[in-house]
Amino acid sequence: MKKSINGSTLKKFITLALTFAIVQVLVSTNIINDYIFSTLATICINIILATSLNLITGFTGQFSLGHAGFMSIGAYTCAIITLRNPTMLGFVIGALAGAMLAAFIGFFVGLPTLRLKGDYLAIATLGMSEIIRILFINLDSVTNGAAGLSGIPQFINWGWLFVFTAGTIILLNNFIKSSYGRACISLREDEIAAESMGINSTKYKVIAFVTGAFFAGIAGAVYSSYYYFLEPNLFNFQKSIDILVIVVLGGLGSLSGSVIAAILLALISTYLQSFPELRMVIYAILLIVIMLFRPQGIMGSKELSLTVFKKWTRGLRDKKNGGVA
């Protein structure tokens, strides 16, 4: 039993290392040029945002509309710190500080609202992210107001993108597989039943919400350091909806679904840049079509794993053998 667990961890590790190495080679040989790399960065940032929102909305069942707000806290905190201290260490500290601050604000918004049953969280988080945006517009001395911060030192390369994205997915996956994660899922399934099992609903909702906010802060930090320009209106209500679209499209309660949807949407929107007039129309029609044919999202609540492939290929092989014999 133990051996097989180690085996699958090893396989996962090899897959990750291979992904990293292949892209790294492509980047250094300039096959992935700056243009493609910017799509790659968008994909990675969206993966971090979508998987962390999926923890809140997909796994724990709490509807949050404030993810852009948490992202902006991470982005501005990291930007302000790296502007004062333009070193690699400054960036790492900035990213962590941004994430912590986002988690902290998440705790203060979450604690009072998550005690209530119902969709109060959606309204509270919507209000919170608007307040944060207005604050950033008006705090001229720190954030340079509506004109935005520019010239933020760029530290994001493929290595960092990979570390943050893979790190987020691994940590969230471990969280969901733990007993904490199971408690969160049970709250989504049936809050009353979960409470009568002795699960403290407020506690687990707050834990999921704060964790989600933390990773949104990380995504913001990565964003600020890659795009080296920030303005408050990047993080408006529309941005929160964009993240929600990825989560719903990928499947509520599926991390791999969020990853697939983030990649798919980024590719579609990059491709559609050649048709600027029709871009949003086609994008919207595609979303409608996908949701019509797969209302549960691309992955539903299932996860993509190597065993699925194995079962599938074994099924094919068995069929073949059966046919021959």
Binding site: R182, A183, I185, S186, E189, D190, A193, S196, G198, N200
Partner: protein
């Protein structure tokens, strides 16, 4: 074992439970019967800590538990099978049982109790890895009971275990309830199926519009003209 005195519960301005008192002694099966909307489920939810009473006291094994929250009540040995089963439908049977033992930390004991549950409900052992939502109504009821047993309750509440089940299954579920009781768990049973409930109950309370209007042993109530007329269709 459980003693409720003068319990009042409000939903906003609606006075749902109007000063009821009831006792459950150790080892008994006590049933609470009554029509829809009489306040049976509210009473159970108040005792298990999911709803706060406006006044009155609840004591369990001599300790006042009125102000404990649901979690602490599970810890001291009160567990419930909620109305409508409420299994976690996208989780497997095994994960459901695991959540039933959420507050326990004794691994060995938990593993032993899985075996206990699987022995009592062999069908669940066959469906260990199956999603709970794909089970039939009867199997879900068994799972909900197994899940509640995983917390090793001294006192088990069952809220309408016969709801939506075929008559044959209802009999089976009631046999199991009797058996759980024989093995030492005290039971408080809320039912609409009054005749079945009265047959296995040691004592019974009848609830009407938030008040207890009648009480007695199961046998007494089954004979009572009033009950026959109102609940047994006689």
């Amino acid at each position: 074992m459980l003693e409720i005195t003068n319990l009042n519960v409000h939903f906003g301005v609606i006075h749902a439970i109007k000063g009821i008192s009831l006792t459950v002694n150790e080892g008994e099966i006590v049933t609470l019967i009554g029509a829809n909307g009489a306040g049976k489920t509210t009473t159970l939810r108040t005792i298990s800590g999911l709803k706060k009473p406006t006044s009155g006291t609840i004591t369990f094994e001599g300790n006042d538990i009125t102000n404990l929250d649901a979690r602490q009540r599970v810890k001291i040995g009160i567990s419930q099978v909620p109305e409508g089963r409420r299994v976690f439908s996208t989780m497997t049977v095994l994960e459901n049982l695991e959540l039933g033992a959420y507050l326990r930390r004794d691994k060995a004991g938990i593993n032993k109790d899985y075996q206990m549950v699987f022995e009592r409900f062999p069908i669940l052992a066959d469906r260990k890895k199956q999603m709970a939502g794909t089970l039939s109504g009867g199997e879900q009821q068994m799972l909900a009971m197994g899940r509640a047993l995983m917390s090793r309750p001294k006192l088990l509440f069952l809220d309408e275990p016969s709801m939506g089940l075929a008559p044959l299954l209802v009999q089976e579920i009631f046999d199991i309830i009797k058996d759980i009781n024989d093995k030492g768990t005290t039971i408080l049973l809320v039912e609409q199926n009054a005749s079945m409930a009265l047959q296995i109950a040691d004592r019974a309370y009848v609830m009407e519009t938030g008040k207890i209007t009648l009480s007695g042993t199961g046998k007494e109530l089954i004979q009572s003209e009033e009950i026959k007329k109102a609940y047994l269709g006689g």
